[in-house]
Each structure stands twice: as structure tokens, then as C-alpha cells.
């Protein structure tokens, strides 16, 4: 909402010396955030000019500039050289004869831009023809300002070249722009802004709606209000004022001062009837509609739309109406407007209109909000009705419009005044005057609290007790309970007064086990050389095919978004790898060669055919069953960690060549995470998509709890995802890691007796995994085996086709004595025997 300071001065006693920024600061204090401040920072010569000649000159850069001469009266080059002003202009939306706004050398535009004569495109441009944005009149920079369009042909008629455009357009006025929060609908008017300014600074406020209003009578234009389908029991329209003004000269010019104000508020002047309704709306916040009386058949009224009905609105769009839309209809039941949103084309005021029906009504905020959203149509009217228009101002707004039409359009108002008033009085509520102190932590006396309530317009029933009864003013539908009033009391004194007191909770428990695990997983992967990234968890329909998932793979079961960011990625990921691979691809595309990435994030476990989540009321805590229904409908979203890498695992350098990343790196990184958590998992070979069937390790606990998979991605997957060949990856279930950790590790006493080494070489089938050989050896060797290290794997003729030789170093140490050589031999033989029986190993 824009608020020109000069206009504000008419409605509140703004001190003479107060600047725009003083006004803005006062408004910020009470909760109207400053969005901008314009005007006041420009100086002339900024003049009205009439374009005398235009020569289009195409340029080498493809642009066509226009070399113009402009009559700017007895200024500029006319004064010094006796000829019209010569100006180069880039815009094309004007013609010879148009009235434009010129800034001449020496002038300063908003933002401190000083204008001087300058050589450009082979000419000396003696100034500029200005756009609306350059003049600080909003954001329009499509073309330059053509005054006949901005102000209307009528109003532009008596302008002459050389007139001061600063005064004409109110450019010197400072205009404060504030952001109006949804609870403060009344601040979408100068009346509301002035009220807030007065509240903030304590100066007097003059209510522009405090005018003499012609009393309602039975002779007014007939109005019939019906509502077949009230939303939440509220009538779609609870007040409708209809006034008729006959014999209006719709071609009469809108007064310059009104045009100036509309321009300052970012609106264009259109015609007297439209400008008057807009002006009154900006003044008191009541949207008005002007109907051409001649197009109506006998009466106006409201009803809900019927399925299949259509209405062509003022913007020329034909809209299909729905039964929740509230309509304005005439006596023949013809739709005239979507109530509170936009009028129809058929009843619009036109050039031939002489009699005007002014509508000032109060519509249900929810009804208007839904229509506005349904038709994707946000208008100045809908914006205000949605947030609540003061139903107390309806008649006064109509009166203001009637008066202005009469004054400037020469019409005569009908004696008949219709005011159908079905307002339900707002309910008074009790308010404990000690609540502000209790809520804010600052002492507010009873007197101060009551004074604030009075200042904001509340009616207070005071019996002298702490608890009083309050009725909110008609323009504050947002004030319905105690805390609403606490905010009023706090903001009027000022939030700056609130002291700073640190609350002291009881000693906390610190991070939970799961939270500490997550941090350690993340830190360990980073320490392994991988870089943490974040990816959007959205994936495409075809990803699971590209990952090579079987049709029945549970990881195909996910949730779909109704309104995804992109139709190509409507699904929620079921593995972190799903979206992480794309980040690898992007890094490689940007030229990175050795890339190792990881991410911790939630994945989705699809619900399948699940019940919808209940949406109970909010007056109290839902019952246990409903809450269980809500919680149960939310899909499981376990936390996973995934890693992916390509290129070199170890860089080359003076010490030797680089080493390319390989499947075992992925396993090693995954195991590092386990080791950091003190977890000792089992590694088994697996054949799981999206990994290479011969290069995939399943990492699990002895009890079968799966921790994750690691290895090299399937060549088809790397091809389908456009990843570098031999990309390796792992996915770990962090929830599983959390569940298998947390118990205190029990220390094993350390033996200081000497250790004994012995090596064994075993021949096994190629397909036997090392882990199986290892566990067989371990089990056979017994508790004195301290460590077991695979130091050689050999394939060749000596061991035969389809066989391999694996060599282990076994280290033994007993807890209570030095092992004798014979004892070590016995243990080794037991280990070998175990391997022989369990995996068919033959000692070489």
C-alpha cells in the first residue's frame, strides 16, 4: 500500500517537519513494514513536452532509436538557441503530437540521477523523455509516459508544453510504501494508514468516513439479497448499499488532484466514474462498483452461481462459474459481477452512460477469497474483501462517491437510498487487563491497557475489575481474543520496550544417540575424502527402470506429488542415491574429474493403498484414535546416507601414480562408517540393483539386520544415468546403524604375551567369497586368533581353472601364556580344517 505523505497530512496531524522516512519509521513501529520510500529526491526542469517530430534511426546494434524534437515551451534550447528540444529516445510507444514528460539537462531524477546533455547515437541528446519508473511512479518501464494515456484525454487537454510536470504528477511528494499483513485489511486505505500513524505518534486522526450520510429509506433502488449456500453459516453479503446518480457526464475530466493521488498510489486514471470509485476505495478501503443503470433490469441482488453459468468479466475473460461463487445479479437474474472480485462487461459504465448505480457492499471474506483463488483473479477489491473490509463504512463510502460524482460529473443523486443491513454484531469477549503483563514480561498498568483499547477503537465495558468486556471496532475483525489485544497493547507502547530475559530450562540431555550417530556418519564420510552435498529429493518416473530395479522391487513404492516442480520429477526418492547420482553427473559435466560425494537425507517408503490422513478440528487435542490415524497416514521416511565416486581415489604426485577409485573403496568407506560407530558388520557378496552383480557387497549385522550395500554401479546404470564408467556407490540405512549401536562397548582385556604369526595358502573355488573363507578360518582358529589378514590372491595354472589361491596371515596370542610353536600349529590346522569343511578349501 502506497501512502503519499501529503495525503496523510489531511487525515492525521503529521508534524510540519516530519519527512517521509519519519512517517515510515512511525508506521514500522506499529507493524507496517516499510517496503519503500519514493519521491522528494528529484528536481527540475521536468516538464510537459509535445512531440514535434520523430525520426526512426536503425542502429548497428539492432536497436532502432528515435531522434525527436519536442516543444517544451520557453525552456531549454528554445531559451538558449531558439529551437525545440532535441532528444534521443529508445521507446516507441508515442507519436508526433503526444504529450510526454521531459527532463532537461540540469534536472535530477529519483535516485539522484543527474541529467546532462550527452552525445549518443550520433546526436547530442538534450535530456530524456521519461518512463513511469524513471519518474518514480511505479514499476512501468515498458515505454515512456504518454500523458493522454496516464491522465485521460480530457484531463490532458488543457496541458501545454512547458508546464511543470513535478507539480502536475505530484512527483515531489514523498510516498511511503508499506507491507500490509493479512490481519490488517483496514490498512489497505489511507484511513487505516492514518489511524495507525496517529496510534503510533499520538497525534489526532480525522476520519474521512465521518461525513454526512443520507439516511436509508424505502424509495431506493430495489436490492434483493439471497444466499443459497452460505459458507460456514455466514451470508455471502451482509450489507448492500445502492445509490443512484442520474445525468452524470461520464466524459467530464477527473480533477487533477484526484489523478495525481491515483497515480501516486500506482493506479491509472481511466474515467471519472471509475476514478471516483477507486479514489474512495483508496481513501476508506471500501471497494465500490459503478453500474450503468440503463443495463440493469429493475433491481440488483446476490445469489450463488449455478453450475454451467458463465460471465464475461471486465478484463474480457469469459469465466465458468461454480456454485460457491457469489454473484451480483440484476432483476432478470442476469449475472453482473463476481461479488467482491470483478464486475462483468455487460453492465460496465460506458461513453453513453448517464445514470450510474453505485454499489457499496460487504462480502464474506472466505467467499471472496475462494472465488478469487478459483478464478486466479486477484483484484484491488478481492484483496481488500479477503482481508476484511470495515462493514461500518459501507454507506459513507457510497456517499463519498455520490458526492464526488455530483461535484465533478454534474449529476443529481436520487432521493432514494437503499441500505440492506444484515450485519450480525460482533460478539463481545472478556479480557483480563493483566494479560499483557503476563504475556509480554513488561508492566502495563490497567489505565494504559484501557487507554490503548480505546485508542484502537474498542468499546470497553468497565466494571472496575481486572476483567473487562471488549467489543472490537468494525474495522478490526482480527481482534477476537485476549492475545490479539495483548499485541495491540504491546505495539502501542512499542516492542522496543520489551526487555531481554534469557529463560533458564532445567539441564538438558544434549543430543540424542540418533543425532550423535548422524553427525558421526557425516563427519566420517567427510574424513574419508568425500564431499557432502544436498540434492532435491524429487525423481522421475523412469529412474527406477534406469536403476535396473525389478518390477517387484520395494524401492519402486513411493509417494507422488500432485503438483511437482517439474512433471519430469514427480516422485519422492526411495534411496538417497536416486538423486545423488545427478549431482555427480553435474560435477563431472563442470569439469571435475575425481569426485566423491555423499549425502544424508530422508527417503520415502511408499504407503501403497493407505487411508487418507484425518483432518480433525482444532478446538481441542484430537482423540488418540484420530491422532494415531494422522501419524499412521504419514509414510515412513528413514534417514539414509549414500556415497558415490568416480575418477581417482588417491591422487598421483611425486610419490607415484594415481589410483583409480574401485568397488573396494566404496566398501571401505561404508566400513569406515561402521568402524567409527564401533559396529563390526558381516560383508557378503550380493547381486542387487543398481550395483554390478559381481561387484556388490551386502553389509549387515550377524543377526541379519541390513546396514546397506556398496560396490561398483552396473555398467548399464552408469550408461543410462550418463555417469562416468566404473562409478562406485554405497547406500547405508542410518536408522539401522542407530538401532545396532548405543549399548556401551565392553572392553576386552589386552594380553601382553608375545604373538605368533603363521601363514596359510588355501585353494578355493573362484566363487567362494573371501568373507566365507575368513569366517571359516576364524571359527576354526578359536579365541586365541588375534587377527587375520588376506595378503595375496592368486589365479593361474598352478591352482587350476575356476579356482583361486588365497593367502592369509594368522596372528595368535593367548591371554594367559606364551603360545608354543606346537600349539600354534594345532590352531592353524584347526582353522584350515574348518575352511576345508565349510568352503572346500585345500591347503597348498
Amino acid at each position: 500500500m502506497y501512502a503519499p505523505v501529503s495525503w496523510l497530512r489531511e487525515l492525521a496531524d503529521v508534524p510540519a517537519g516530519a519527512s517521509g522516512s519519519d512517517v515510515a519509521a512511525a508506521l514500522v513501529r506499529v507493524g507496517l513494514e516499510e517496503e519503500g520510500l519514493s519521491g522528494g529526491d528529484l528536481s527540475g526542469p521536468i516538464l510537459v513536452g509535445r512531440v514535434l517530430s520523430v525520426e526512426a534511426e536503425p542502429q548497428k546494434n539492432g536497436k532502432t532509436i528515435r531522434w525527436c524534437t519536442v516543444d517544451v515551451g520557453q525552456h531549454g534550447q528554445m531559451l538558449t538557441e531558439g529551437k525545440p528540444q532535441e532528444i534521443v529516445c529508445g521507446a516507441h510507444n508515442f507519436d508526433v503530437g503526444d504529450l510526454v514528460v521531459c527532463v532537461l539537462p540540469g534536472g535530477v531524477l529519483p535516485g539522484g540521477f543527474e541529467i546532462s546533455a550527452r552525445r549518443t547515437y550520433g546526436h547530442v541528446s538534450q535530456g530524456m523523455i521519461c518512463s513511469a519508473r524513471e519518474l518514480g511512479l511505479g514499476d512501468d518501464h515498458e515505454g515512456i509516459v504518454v500523458l493522454t494515456e496516464l491522465l485521460g484525454a480530457e484531463a490532458a487537454e488543457d496541458l501545454k508544453p512547458g508546464d511543470d510536470a513535478i507539480a502536475l504528477l505530484g512527483l515531489a511528494d514523498e510516498v511511503v510504501e508499506v507491507n500490509v499483513t493479512p490481519d490488517r485489511g483496514y490498512c489497505f486505505s489511507m484511513r487505516g494508514i492514518a489511524r495507525e500513524y496517529a496510534l503510533s505518534t499520538g497525534v489526532a486522526f480525522r476520519d474521512p468516513a465521518d461525513v454526512h450520510v443520507a439516511a436509508a429509506n424505502e424509495q431506493g433502488y430495489p436490492v434483493h439479497l439471497t444466499d443459497e449456500a452460505p459458507i460456514d453459516g455466514r451470508d455471502g453479503c451482509d450489507r448492500y448499499v445502492a445509490r443512484v446518480v442520474r445525468g452524470v457526464d461520464v466524459a467530464a475530466p477527473t480533477p487533477r488532484w484526484m489523478q495525481k493521488r491515483l497515480t501516486q498510489l500506482g493506479m491509472r486514471a481511466i474515467s471519472l466514474p471509475v476514478d471516483v470509485t477507486n479514489y474512495v476505495m483508496m481513501l476508506v478501503g471500501q471497494p465500490l462498483h459503478a453500474f450503468d443503470l440503463a443495463t440493469l433490469s429493475g433491481s440488483v441482488g446476490t445469489r450463488r452461481a449455478r453450475s454451467g453459468e458463465e460471465l464475461t468479466t471486465l478484463d474480457g475473460v469469459t469465466r465458468s462459474l461454480e456454485p460457491q461463487d457469489l454473484l451480483i445479479v440484476d432483476g432478470a437474474d442476469t449475472p453482473l459481477a463476481v461479488a467482491g472480485v470483478m464486475g462483468g462487461a455487460s453492465s460496465e459504465v460506458s461513453d453513453t452512460t448517464t445514470d450510474i448505480l453505485v454499489e457499496a457492499a460487504h462480502f464474506d471474506p472466505v467467499t471472496v477469497a475462494r472465488s478469487s483463488r478459483r478464478h486466479r483473479l486477484t483484484t484491488e477489491a478481492s484483496k481488500r474483501f479477503e482481508r476484511g473490509v470495515d462493514p461500518g463504512v459501507t454507506a459513507a463510502a457510497a456517499q463519498l462517491a455520490v458526492d464526488l460524482l455530483v461535484q465533478y460529473g454534474g449529476g443529481a443523486p436520487d432521493e432514494g437510498v437503499t441500505d440492506v443491513d444484515r450485519r450480525v454484531a460482533s460478539s463481545p469477549f472478556t479480557f483480563d487487563t493483566t494479560l499483557p503483563t503476563r504475556y509480554v514480561g513488561l508492566e502495563y498498568s490497567r489505565d494504559e491497557v484501557l487507554a490503548t483499547l480505546g485508542a484502537i477503537g474498542c468499546a470497553v465495558q468497565d466494571t472496575g475489575a481486572d476483567v473487562v468486556t471488549v467489543r472490537s471496532p468494525s474495522w478490526r475483525p482480527d481482534l477476537v481474543d485476549g492475545p490479539d489485544l495483548v499485541e495491540e497493547v504491546a505495539r502501542v507502547r512499542g516492542y522496543d520496550e520489551i526487555p531481554s530475559v534469557l529463560p533458564l530450562p532445567k539441564a538438558g540431555g544434549g543430543l540424542t544417540h540418533a543425532q550423535r550417530v548422524r553427525r558421526l556418519v557425516a563427519a566420517t564420510l567427510a574424513q574419508q575424502g568425500l564431499v557432502e552435498v544436498l540434492s532435491y529429493p524429487f525423481v522421475g518416473q523412469d529412474l527406477f527402470d534406469r536403476l535396473g530395479y525389478e518390477p517387484a522391487d520395494p524401492r519402486r513404492r513411493t509417494e507422488t506429488l500432485l503438483n511437482p516442480l517439474s512433471e519430469e520429477a514427480p516422485l519422492m526418492r526411495t534411496s538417497v542415491l536416486d538423486s545423488l547420482v545427478e549431482v555427480l553427473r553435474r560435477n563431472v559435466a563442470r569439469g571435475a574429474r575425481d569426485v566423491g560425494l555423499y549425502e544424508l537425507g530422508a527417503v520415502t517408503v511408499g504407503r501403497g493403498a493407505a487411508q487418507a490422513a484425518p483432518v480433525p478440528g482444532t478446538d481441542s487435542k484430537p482423540d488418540a484414535e484420530t491422532l494415531a490415524g494422522i501419524r499412521g497416514a504419514v509414510p515412513a521416511q528413514p534417514l539414509h546416507a549414500a556415497l558415490v565416486a568416480s575418477g581417482d581415489a588417491e591422487p598421483g604426485g611425486p610419490w607415484g601414480p594415481a589410483r583409480a577409485v574401485e568397488a573396494s573403496d566404496a566398501v571401505s568407506w561404508a566400513l569406515a562408517v561402521c568402524a567409527a560407530l564401533g559396529v563390526d558388520p558381516v560383508v557378503a557378496s550380493a547381486s542387487t540393483a543398481p550395483w554390478h552383480p559381481g561387484r556388490c557387497a551386502l553389509i549387515s549385522m550377524r543377526d541379519g539386520t541390513v546396514l546397506g550395500h556398496a560396490g561398483e554401479l552396473h555398467p548399464k546404470v552408469t550408461a543410462a544415468l550418463e555417469l562416468p564408467p566404473r562409478t562406485v556407490a554405497a547406500e547405508l540405512d542410518v536408522e539401522a546403524l542407530v538401532s545396532v549401536t548405543g549399548a556401551a562397548v565392553q572392553a576386552v582385556p589386552l594380553s601382553t604375551y608375545p604373538m605368533a604369526h603363521t601363514d596359510v595358502a588355501l585353494v578355493v573355488d573362484e566363487t567362494v567369497p573371501a568373507a566365507s573363507v575368513e569366517s571359516a578360518l576364524r571359527d576354526g582358529a578359536g579365541p586365541d586368533l588375534e587377527s587375520l589378514v588376506l595378503f595375496d590372491v592368486y589365479h593361474g595354472e598352478q591352482v587350476g581353472a575356476g579356482r583361486k589361491s588365497v593367502a592369509y596371515r594368522l596372528t595368535f596370542r593367548a591371554g594367559d601364556r606364551t603360545l608354543k610353536t606346537e600349539e600354534v600349529s594345532v590352531l592353524r590346522d584347526r582353522a584350515v580344517a574348518s575352511a576345508a569343511s565349510r568352503v572346500g578349501a585345500v591347503q597348498r
Binding site: 513494514e33 493479512p182 475462494r370 483463488r373 503476563r438 504475556y439 509480554v440 514480561g441 513488561l442 481474543d481 485476549g482 492475545p483 490479539d484 495483548v486 499485541e487 504491546a490 516492542y495 520489551i498 526487555p499 530475559v501 534469557l502 529463560p503 530450562p505 532445567k506 538438558g508 543430543l511 543425532q515 567427510a526 574424513q527 575424502g529 564431499v531 557432502e532 552435498v533 544436498l534 532435491y536 529429493p537 509417494e559 506429488l561 500432485l562 503438483n563 549431482v583 553435474r586 563442470r590 571435475a592 569426485v595 566423491g596 544424508l600 487418507a612 490422513a613 483432518v615 480433525p616 478440528g617 482444532t618 481441542s620 487435542k621 509414510p635 521416511q637 591422487p651 611425486p654 610419490w655
Partner: protein
Amino acid sequence: MSGPNKQYDPVEVATLDPEAVERAVEEALEAIRGAGSLEELKAVRLAHHGEKSALALANREIGALPPSAKAEAGKRVGQARGRVAQAIAWRLAELERLRDERILVEETQDLTVRVPRHRLGARHPISLVTERVEDIFVAMGWEIAEGPEIESEWLNFDALNIGADHPARGEADTFFVAPAGSGLVLRTHTSPVQVRTMLDRTPPIYVLCPGKVFRTDDLDATHTPVFHQFEGLVVDEGITMAHLKGTLDAFVQRLFGDGIVTRLRPNYFPFTEPSAEIDCQCWVCGGEDPGCRTCGGTGWIELGGSGMVNQRVLRASGIDPERYTGFAFGLGIERSLMLRHGVADMHDIVEGDVRFSRQFGMEI
């Protein structure tokens, strides 16, 4: 030099002549001085201090002397041999020192090669800021609460006093989960975690709810549809807006620097009443620089929203608003990161370029 003196031969006793001994010593010292390497010194030692050296031979002659002359000759030869041995020891030490120095020079490696043997990875700065913020609140005695990203509409909206007609519930702001009417959305803030906490527990509640949230914004320099925030919630007896301000002040001082304070401005949020916008004093210019790029010269930086928990939210969560009051606040982590570390473009935060994370290392 004399040969073996198997039998006494007075002629050879001439080697014990003082001048001859002195000469032998001089010759030895000269040779020692001239030894340029350990190998040469070894040869010199053999020649001048070995069994067949002149002084060794002279020493042997002593036995042939008449007893009266033995003592003096013995002393003379002993001193001479001592001088030679000493000179050899010094020269040896010297040559060994030179050899060691030479080896060290030869072993020189250029360690300025900036390719690490093991490359350390990096954390994402969003995670680092999150953990930093968590630590600040944990140190104040708070706990960290979490919840699901796909969330029920009731917890994300209704329970927070965001009614069915609130604009934020439109498809223009919120991601909805299929099928229509599922009652599920991608959470638009971490506030549902606050509600879950209140539903599950009885006050006192002091929790921080960090996490990933979703809104249907397109990615640009300052927006991302998937972002992170942290919300704080306190519900206890006697909690006031002063406690809100005190908490926010303590927080910004720990994250942005000593002496920094916050400012509250009236605002509107459905889930709080009274509500307040949080501004933080500019930690770069302190409000002194009208051209400051961090605060735009205003001296204040907008951080997020806050307020006293709306009584309707307390009631929906099963907490008695007559007994308890509470405050809540919410701040964006991306915004904190951009402001604190001068990140100019949101693309860098979300695209996962390793060069971005690597700038921050492992601690922020």
C-alpha cells in the same frame, strides 16, 4: 720406517729419537688433515695409527731400550700416539658430520607440491550451520526435535491455526501428495514438529526443530523450493515475550558476535499472537556504514518470524493456555549462511558443486 724388530738392533732404536717421533706425528697430522673422505681417513689411520705405522713400530722398540730410557721413551711415544688418535677422532667426527649433511641435502624432497596424499572431504555448509545452531541451543539446555518431511495437513496447517482458506494452503505455495485428498503435504515449515512435540510431551518444553522444508518456489538467486530452517519452541509456566527476546539475543550473539542484539517489530503469523518480525543488528557495519552491502545501510537485517504461541495452537496440541504460555520463532538456514558467509547465489548452495562445500571444510 723400520721393519720388524725381532731382535734387538740398536740401529733401529733411532726411531725413538724425539725428532723422529715428532716427525712421524707431523706426518700423521698432515695426512689426517689431508684426508678428504671417510675412506681416505681410514687409509690414513692404517698408515699412521695402524699396527705398522711408524709410531707403532717405535712403540715396539721401547722394550729394547735400557730400563733407564724406557720411561721417557714410553711417555714420548704414548703422547705422540695420543695426539694422532685424537686428531683422527676429530677428523672422523668432522668427516661424518659432512657426510651426514651431504646425505640430508641429497635426500631433499620438494614438499611444496600441493597435492595431498589423502584428500580430506568436506561437510556441506548448510549442515555445518545447522549443527552450529543446534549446539548453541543445546548449550542453553534445549533439546533437538525432528519430524517427517512428508507431513499430514492437520499438523502442518490446521493445528497451527492455518485454516482451510489460508492462501499458504494453495497449490501455489505447497506441494501436495497424491491422491488428492490424501491429507498429506511436503511440510512447508518445521512447525509441525513443534505440534508433535506438544502432543507428545507435557511442559516444560524447550526444543529446537531444524530441518528440510518445501515450498513451490522456483530456484533463483535467493529462492529454492527445498530449503532448511530451524524453529524454536518454548512452553512453560510464566514464559513471556521478554524470554523470546532474551533467547534471540543470546542466539545472535553466539552466532554473529558479542554485543549484537535483536529488534522485534509487530507482524502477523497465524500460529503466534502477538507476533513479531525479528531483525538482527548488522554484525558487519553495526549500522555505521550507509553503503553496507550486508544490511543495505539500515543497520538491521531481517532474520525471521516469532511470537507467543497462539492459544488456538496450544489448545489443538492439548496444552492448557490458562496455565502455560510459550514462544516460538523460525529462521532460515540458507539465509543465515548467505548473510554470515557472503554467499551471493542460492544456486551454489543447492547444486552440489564440490568446490562450494570444500571452501568451508569441516567446521563453520
